[in-house]
Amino acid sequence: MARKIRVLIAKPGLDGHDRGAKVVARALRDAGMEVIYTGLHQSPEQIVQTALQEDVDAIGLSSLSGAHDVLFPRVMELVKKNRMKVLVTAGGIIPEEDIPALKKCGIAAVFGPGTPIDDIVKFHKERLSQKG
């Protein structure tokens, strides 16, 4: 049986704008992946524990409130602490100038508003297909 790609879509912070997160979740599902959706308002600790228990291949973080500068690096810190091999991407409203710092802490890609969903799907497929 083929290996299933499992992805966690997580919304850290307090904003309730889950439209983007849900669209991505659906698109990944339509591409044959198993998507675990955490719902709103997750703390970095909860997100990383969930990723660990679900043994996901990737985590997609979405925030539209601007709290990414504090919360995303915190997630990465915990990922490293648990020595997890997982591809982490970010989406939402993220100013250009914040991107280098996010990349530096290990986030593989930042998908701004207007990123074609297909690009996000393709990115995950390419980066995760050789995993096993």
Binding site: G13, L14, R19, G66, V70, G114
Partner: protein, 566 residues
Amino acid sequence: MLMALALKKKGKAGARRGNSSGQTARPGRQPKAVVPETAERRAGYPNLSWIETDPFYVQDRDFDYGERLGLPGEYPFTRGIHRDMYLGRLWTMRQFAGFGSAFETNRRFKYLLSHGETGLSVAFDYPTLYGYDTDDPHSEGEYGKCGVAVSSLEDMTVLFDGIPLDTVSTSMTINGPASVIWAMYLGAAEAQGVSKSRLRGTIQNDVLKEYIAQKSFIFPPAPSMRLVIDTFEYGMHNVPSWNTISISGYHIREAGSTAVQELAFTLADGLEYVRQGIERGLDPNLFVPRLSFFFNAHNDFFEEIAKYRAARRIWAREMKESFGLTSERAMKLRFHTQTAGCTLTAEQPENNITRVSIQAMAAVLGGTQSLHTNSLDEALALPTEKAVRTALRTQQIIAYESGIPNVVDPLGGSYYVEWLTDQMEERAYRIFDEISMYGGVIGAIERGYFQKAITESSYRYQKEVERKERIVVGVNEFTTDEPLEIPTLRLDPKGRDRQVARLRKLRRTRDRSKFESAMNRLRKIAEGEENTMPAILDAVRAKATLGEVTGVLRDVFGEYSEQQII
């Protein structure tokens, strides 16, 4: 059940509508053969609600002007709620603003007023929207990011320092903890020596749309509705010029609904508030005039105009015919409009100025009472002063240069606009029927009806954009590679620490016994059935913080979590 009643009666109105837009007589429609097959843009383009349009429209001979339109300022108010509309007074230019601390936002308010803004509109940060203080663990990373942090009466006083609350009107986008924030505003006015009867403004206070779309709910539906009706009642008797609710379609649309869904869901919410107010024993002729609405202004120009016109007609009919109200003021749907944040693009952000202009024109042609125009950089970050000024200038250009406000409802009688207005109305009633099958708005929320409908629409739209069936300029067509150069606003990096220090000092120095007795009384009243507003006001006066007051209510009412629909 009044809601059910309201919807049933509609059967009749529906039949009447059938005359003008039923299958047999659809005189607004033109045979398609008129358009040459070779036309590059073929006929039958669906708009943003996937309503198919014809190439052009002709006169509908059965159209009953008296019944469908009336004169401006007359029932059913399709053409507007004032006879002289903007000739009497322009709409209120009200820019949504707020970030960081009360000090920083106070400066921004003064800046906007000095540039000709005519009303204030407060954006609160996420912790405030959820009723958390700045130093609560839930607030990590969120302080001041999407609005101003207000955790106490003291913060509110700072926010309006030097702004006379008896002359300016203030709108506050706050829902779950609306009564607490409103109490703080009333307290701040008290401190300025302004009596409640002279206050003008709006609290959003629309919890139903939180469950449907915006998601910043705190309590389960029943206690949430109780708090809302408490503010209706309190406002009627104590703050008579205040709008105690702004029933909002804006967020429903931003979450991805169509224009028709926005219209129908919002009005259905409105009817539910009326019903529950009546159930409480309030006189609808007195409280309904204080209900206001808030709509989105999206890209499809005529569809938006038709939406506003249909909204007024439906509301007037429902109030008069289904609820039997006699007050004309209760039949007039007043609304605020904001241009659609979700249409702003991060790519080529200057294009957003053009989008906002078109959207703002739709709002004005649709007869809005007040308007917020988005800033070009809002898809990227908090708007800078310059971007906000340009957004405000857009309104001023429409107001003072375009000539649009010189004639009331200039599109009234347009074959197309009237056809589309009828379409919006007819489709909204179909949605009302669906909602009533779920036992009304709350039943439909509990069963995820709205959430599902919105998710479907937003996914469908997204797919069409991806397949280039819809063009988004600068995003999937006419793109450039140039890097983004948008100056973005940065918050005062020490702001949070200062805010937390102030908060801790407040807790340390306040009169303990006064505070505790106010909190105990609040708890008792929350557990009982009395109106909560006076006790909340007392708690706030006793320097209880937002988080403390909301915390008591959380304890008593519990917290809500929704059914997830993806």
